[in-house]
């Protein structure tokens, strides 16, 4: 294993220590407080009536029987919301979305009405007793058909000048130069790759308690949100409630993965219900509602071309993509990036030319392209480039590892400017791949594969050498709904030397209470165990854009280090005063300032904190606190090389992952144990869509995987024993050299698995299999190729 550098003692537990998590004592005792654990006095429950049709006119809603159900207090419909102008709301992408429909439903399981009752069961009884009269309309499920001229126009609300289902076109790079370079290439390979629609399926679903106090005219919104401050602003803008009259609180969150970034209709309905009744209203989504109605990821149809010389040097890459966004663009991408950061598609490879274009289409599905442990389309980009690179290597008869080494951006080329405009901060791609090959025994595996192929056995080896792009982002380029994507930290050191820090990001399991304390411990020498980390209360935490897209450490982690350094700067002045020395003569080491040349003339951070409240220099402000709003100068670019070995069962088509080695480089590491945990989880969420998960729809728009019976979240049995290691290439622009890691493995794993399966079958004439690579798909291929046993 790679040794992580540490400069603090285990008692202080700064960076590099595998400190046990501070949040765990409550979780292992069942004392976490998740949204459904919270009960408020006088609280009522909300349940939602949903559409069985994917596209239909609402002819009428009869709530009389529901209102007669014992315990039912109210039924809310789109007409009720229309009166207050709340039947539509803006999405984060600047499109709009129905809160409740007034005349037409746009996807199966869309919210149609809400029932409020004095118990969970009565609300469900009431929802079952609401009768809705529908007239089915033609359903559009295929985004290609959606763009045909005779397709029904799904969003007439956009006006007569937009009488089609095309949402937007976006492009990046140089089309002319790329097409010329491809035309001049010795070899061009082209593939159509579909990345399926999937759902994050955090084990806790979404939910909220809206608590409007009519006397104080104040809204407490307890909610499963990855971005509480953004929610407060959005709720204020949508509802008209002044922002200081809204407090968003998150409590513990049972997994997010991006699915808890959007503002869902259920939240807004709950707020309206609380405003109407003057009582707290709880809404907790069922699993099947979660898997049918909130938001989905991917759904990208990619055509990708890669050119190379006959020696195997890449010349150009071109991608043309159709994105299925469902009936509204509710993606959480930065506003200047409707296709997210998809133009990172040149990946880890040095090439002069690239061009990507993306068109987005409406269909009769719930919002697509939102998030699945990667919100910004990096997974799609990495899958396309890593698949097509592998196809090129096979086409040229080159080993896929050799092909990658030949084309990697070399360590001395950083900072590296890609043809689509990114500046990669740092990397050593050959080192990561070499390390992964050494661990897995690549040469031996290739020999074994050759022997097995002689005997007719199907074994494959797949590589993925990915480059991630995280830490959005610099304010000159990155905003969501105009909110710049800085993030924040406020630290207060108490007189007795312990501290509290509040951050603008929001853990959903990442361990912020531990890692952010470790950053401060590293910078100030205060033990991490003596630092409380708070988040998720908009009344107390500084404004921030929240946790998604692996941005906590790159942005708020940087803010935390900078705020701690501001505290150290003030502590230096106090130390100079106490030691009667010049500030310039003081040196900082291990949590204390000492006079250069006289190491016993020193003041510890604890002594300086005490002095800040008891003996501060005249003319200086008392206290020891600081706040930082960090605007990152660039994104960070974590990377890694993954190698997957598969064996394919020739009777069933089942793919068995024999080994999977993941070498990640996320820059400097705060807590190695937590980083490994993030990678294990990320790999499993990379495995899931590779072999198991897909949300499919039939021609009537029925969701065919809307519960855990059909949507195959991997269990411990399907999940391989992941093998992980690291290389460490610090980010040169990040204050602590860290890069972020949460999504790397989800981004990097799928092409390693797909490449391994195709590698096992290439000699039979197989070039591509779209994920999820199910036994049925492989079985059909084996049958077609005449090798089924």
């Amino acid at each position: 294993m790679t040794d992580v550098k540490v400069t603090t003692t285990p008692e202080v537990a700064g960076m590099g220590h595998s400190m046990k998590r501070k949040e765990d004592p409550r979780f292992i005792r069942g004392q976490g407080q998740y949204i459904d654990d919270l009960v408020l006095p006088n609280m009522v429950w909300m349940d939602i009536v949903r559409s069985p049709y994917a596209h239909a006119k609402i002819l009428g809603i009869d709530a009389s029987e529901a209102l007669a159900v014992p315990g039912v207090l109210a039924v809310i419909t789109g007409k009720d919301l229309e009166a207050a102008g709340l039947h539509w709301m803006p999405t984060l992408a600047g499109d709009k979305q129905m809160v409740l429909p007034t005349d037409t439903v746009m996807y199966q399981a869309q919210e149609v009405a809400a029932v409020i009752a004095d118990s969970r069961y009565a609300a469900a009884d009431g929802a079952a007793a609401v009768y809705v009269d529908y007239e089915p309309l033609p359903v559009v499920v295929d985004p290609f058909k959606s763009l045909e001229p005779d397709a029904p126009v799904l969003r007439p609300d956009r006006g007569p000048e937009k009488a089609n289902n095309h949402i937007w076109h976006w492009e990046s790079g140089d089309r002319e130069a790329t097409e010329a370079a491809l035309a001049a290439s010795d070899v061009v390979v082209e593939e159509n790759i579909y990345i399926p629609r999937i759902h994050v399926a955090s084990i806790e679903t979404c939910g909220c308690i809206a608590d409007w106090d009519p006397v104080r005219e104040h809204l407490d919104l307890h909610i499963t949100s990855q971005a509480p401050h953004a929610y407060r602003t959005v709720v204020s803008l949508v509802s008209g409630i002044p922002e200081h009259k809204i407090r968003v609180k998150t409590h513990d969150i049972g997994g997010g993965f991006g699915g808890k970034v959007p503002v869902y209709p259920g939240y807004v309905i709950a707020v309206v219900a609380s405003l109407t009744l003057g009582r707290p209203v709880k809404w907790i989504e069922d699993r099947s509602e979660n898997l049918q109605a909130d938001s989905f990821a991917r759904d990208y149809h990619i055509n990708v071309k890669l050119g190379a010389t006959k020696d195997g040097k890449i010349t150009a890459l071109q991608a043309k993509t159709l994105a299925d966004h469902g009936y509204t663009d509710a993606a959480a991408d930065p506003s200047k990036f409707p296709a997210g950061l998809f133009n990172v598609i040149t990946g880890s490879y040095d090439m002069a030319n690239a061009f990507v274009e993306v068109d987005a289409a409406y269909t009769n599905k719930p919002p697509g392209g939102v998030a699945y442990r990667c919100s910004f389309r990096v997974t799609e980009a990495v899958h396309a480039v890593e698949r097509v690179a592998d196809i090129m290597a096979h086409e040229l008869g080159q080993d896929p590892a050799d092909f990658r080494f030949r084309n990697f951006i070399q360590p001395e080329q950083f900072p590296y400017h890609t043809p689509t405009g990114w500046e990669y901060d740092s990397g050593d791609y050959p080192a990561a791949l070499r390390k992964a090959m050494d661990i897995i025994g690549y040469e031996d595996l290739r020999r074994e594969q050759a022997e097995k192929r002689e005997r007719g056995e199907l074994m494959g080896i797949g590589i993925s050498s990915f480059t991630e792009i995280v830490g959005a982002g610099p304010s000159h380029t990155f905003d969501i709904l105009g909110l710049k994507m800085f993030d924040s930290c406020e630290i207060r050191v108490h007189p007795t030397g312990s501290a509290i820090a509040r951050i603008g990001v929001q853990t959903q399991g990442q361990g912020h209470e531990t890692t952010f304390a470790q950053i401060i411990a590293e910078e100030l020498g205060i033990p991490a165990s003596a630092i409380t980390i708070e988040y998720g209360d908009t009344d107390t935490a500084p404004y921030g854009l929240g946790t998604y897209a692996s941005r906590s450490t790159p942005v708020a982690g940087a803010a935390t280090a900078v705020a701690a350094r501001k505290i150290r700067d003030k502590a230096r002045k106090i130390a100079a005063h106490l030691l009667e020395a010049s500030e310039d003569d003081l040196e900082w080491e291990n949590g204390r300032f000492f006079v250069r040349g006289s190491p016993d003339k020193a003041k510890t951070i604890q002594e300086l904190a005490f002095a800040a409240y008891t003996n501060h220099p005249q003319g200086m402000e008392a206290g020891l606190e600081a706040v930082d709003y960090y605007d990152p100068p660039n994104l960070t670019f974590p990377f890694g090389s993954y190698i997957c070995v598969v064996d394919i069962d020739k009777q069933t088509g089942r793919v068995n992952i024999r080994r999977f080695v993941a070498v990640d480089d996320c820059g400097n590491i705060i807590n190695p144990m937590i980083v490994d945990g993030q990678i294990h989880g990320g790999l499993t969420m990379g495995l899931a869509p590779s072999l198991y998960e897909e949300i499919r729809y039939d021609e009537n728009g029925n969701n065919l995987a809307g519960n855990f019976m059909e949507y195959l979240v991997p269990t411990a049995v399907e999940t391989p024993a992941w093998e992980t290691d690291k290389t460490i290439t610090p980010s040169p622009h990040h204050p602590i050299g860290a890069k972020g890691v949460g999504e790397s493995a989800t981004v990097g794993a799928p092409p390693a698995i797909a490449n391994a399966v195709v590698d096992a079958l290439w000699h039979l004439g197989v070039r591509n299999i779209d994920i999820p690579i199910t036994p049925q798909k492989v079985w059909a291929i084996l049958k077609d190729k005449g090798v089924l046993e």
Binding site: I28, Q33, S202, G509, T684, T719
Partner: protein
Amino acid sequence: MDKQHIRLTVNGQAMEADVEPRLLLVHLLRDVFGLTGTHIGCDSSHCGACTVLLDGRSVKSCTVLAVSADGASLGTIEGMAEGGKLHPLQQAFWDQHGLQCGFCTPGMIMQASWLLEQNPDPTEQEIREGIAGNLCRCTGYVNIVKAIQQAAGELAAEPAEPAAAS
């Protein structure tokens, strides 16, 4: 709906309630008794977040009616630590970083306690099969398996203590 009176033991304490016959055991625990450590993650008994011990056997409490637990002895996550001392499984999940968001953790620990009761010295594969009814979205199961291995070792080394629910 007519209510029925039920009596049961939860973590060694006698409890009773008047419940609708349709009330799920998980809602009895959470909404009536306020024991919110047992979680709900699905509506098809696949995720295992609601796993508890019913007369010593692991069950998914979203698939058991409260009335059918009348007279039974229940064990939940709240009963695992005795006298302030963590159960070896709780300690091991903490030591091995066997949890991240913590939502699946109570159900996972209860299932693991049942697994180790049945098979005190499981292989890795037996552990993986033993927790296949419990979904975790955060950890990739690697450290959960390690935690159960650690606890198995500690439980084997200790003199047997009475299980929380019996």
